[in-house]
Point group: C2
Chain length 321, copies 2
């Protein structure tokens, strides 16, 4: 009988379901729209049906060990989603409690998406034998999951690990959080687009990106393509992004001295274009005792299934305790 865990990744648009075994093989997949529901009870009903449908498609004998959920602003301690700006469910949503009414598994647990990615990396990916590492997710914003002594760092209130909101530039760029100079205003898909705007304003340098701005096609992906093609502004934007990220990571290393830092998500797919200069700037800013000890590695979670793998891994992590 194969042991499996149910992984659910809740995004603003879609909620993706995966039934995953201990090795990270996804036996069945499903999804429902998230943004169709204003009412959390209707959403949970629909989600539960979809999970049951997924389970039915598996023909071999399985033992379901639990449900792991990754969600924006998911709080591991309380099992609630709290004031997630990109979800229609407002206020504090007791998701774990509601799912416990539907399912009787030993583990039903929740955390935020970056933490889920970190645990996924530890259970299935490149961090398998690591006790101390940091996961940085470079999506629309910058998320982070920190593992110390083989345990996720949740902090006193369940909200630890917000490296996207470390202030790296006093009085710097305005951030969605209401403050200025947060790391994610520089190092994220939106951050690198803002850097291009800065550079376009600052110089007269010709660049294919100028046309993309006017045609509305500028994106982190188009900046990457331009950089690969040798566009000077695009290359400068990657270098600047890496400089900010490298400096911030050097400070993070002084905190927890990890074995490695993993990069995950859109910008991380730029591979060496972002990883090599980030490593260089990090090393330049590290205290001597940490130099040449900390790897920067692209996440080894497979792109399409990464989010549900991360979510499902919460179950195995919980059962290890």
């Amino acid at each position: 009988m194969r042991k499996v865990a149910i992984g659910i990744d809740i995004g603003g648009t879609n909620s993706v379901i995966g039934i995953v075994d201990e090795k990270g093989e996804v036996l069945s997949r499903g999804n429902i729209p998230t943004d169709k529901y204003d009412d959390i009870n209707l959403y949970v009903n629909e989600l539960s049906s979809a999970v049951k449908d997924c389970l039915k498609t598996i023909e071999e004998d399985i033992e379901v060990n639990g449900i792991g959920i990754g969600a924006p602003n998911g709080n591991h301690y309380s099992g609630t989603i709290e004031y997630a700006p990109n979800l229609k469910f407002k206020g504090v949503v007791p998701l774990v409690e509601l799912l416990k009414e539907k399912f009787d598994y030993p583990v039903i647990t929740l955390t935020n998406d970056a933490n889920a990615a970190a645990i996924g990396e530890m259970i299935y990916g490149g961090a398998k034998w690591m006790k101390n590492f940091i996961m940085i997710t470079l999506g629309t914003g910058l998320g982070s999951g920190i593992v110390i002594n083989e345990e996720m760092v949740y902090g006193h209130d369940g909200f630890a690990g917000e490296l996207g909101h470390v202030i790296v530039e006093k009085g710097g760029r305005k951030c969605g959080c209401g403050r200025r100079g947060c790391l994610e205003t520089y190092c994220s898909a939106t951050g690198i687009v803002r850097t291009i705007y800065d550079l376009l304003g600052d110089t007269m340098e010709p660049s294919v990106l100028r046309e993309q701005v006017s045609s509305g096609t500028l994106s982190s992906k188009s900046i990457y393509d331009a950089a690969v093609a040798g566009d000077k502004l695009a290359l400068e934007a990657f270098d600047f992004t890496a400089e900010k990220l490298g400096e911030a990571l050097a400070n993070a290393v002084a905190f927890s001295s990890p074995e490695a830092i993993f990069l995950f998500g859109g910008l991380a797919n730029a591979g060496d274009m972002i990883i090599k200069p980030t490593k260089k700037y990090m090393e330049e800013n590290l205290l001597k005792i940490y130099q040449n000890k900390v790897d920067i590695i692209k996440s080894e979670l497979p792109g399409a299934d990464a989010a549900v793998l991360g979510a499902s891994s919460l179950v195995w992590q919980e059962l290890r305790k």
Copy 2:
């Protein structure tokens, strides 16, 4: 029979010994000069004799549970002191191994002084029921000890928790570590003296501190006294120190979301003069989810015995595991 632990605090000048019970009562004290010895073997011989002498002075029945040592650059994993700049023992010194040849206790363990202070606070002081907190020691430099999920954060290599070397000002003040802009160049006994020099150069403001510079009596203590007496420059220096510290602590909170941050050592003795503005600047820089949750507290370890209490607490912490 009273259970006791031996605490040894190794400083550049003196090594202080204390025999401490589980409640933090110091039953016997001793010390030997550290800087008299170039040879670690001679030092360990002398230290061992001094410890035995201390034990002999105790008349009641005791059960010795182990030895805990706090030392600059002490590595908990390897039990070695590594390249401590202010000790005469050069290179890597296998202190725990050498002490194990002299004593047969179940626990003989070592860490750096700031980590020892953090564990001391957790065992005997103000952090007794806390699972997540940060200790900042404001001495000649700035040291830190981070506790997460009730465990000391040592990191991959044993050197985690060097918040004194987080870079808070790119291209800022030169630091003894060879880089620029480290937190301890601003927030420490030497840092606040450097701030006074900056202010004396920057303004024409009259200040008692001008005479102290020429007479060579300027110190963090004299700056504190001047601030208490209302000296404008001294007050400005405290405000600037608190601003730098508050900003750095806000970033540290985004990492581990602690319940409290403890301040320890010389500058912390300035009490509200440093704590109140540091708290204010920290709150101003915190992400909303962390606001009004994190206390800044003066260490509750009693001044004179704080270092040996910290060292001895390593033994109880080790036995708890």
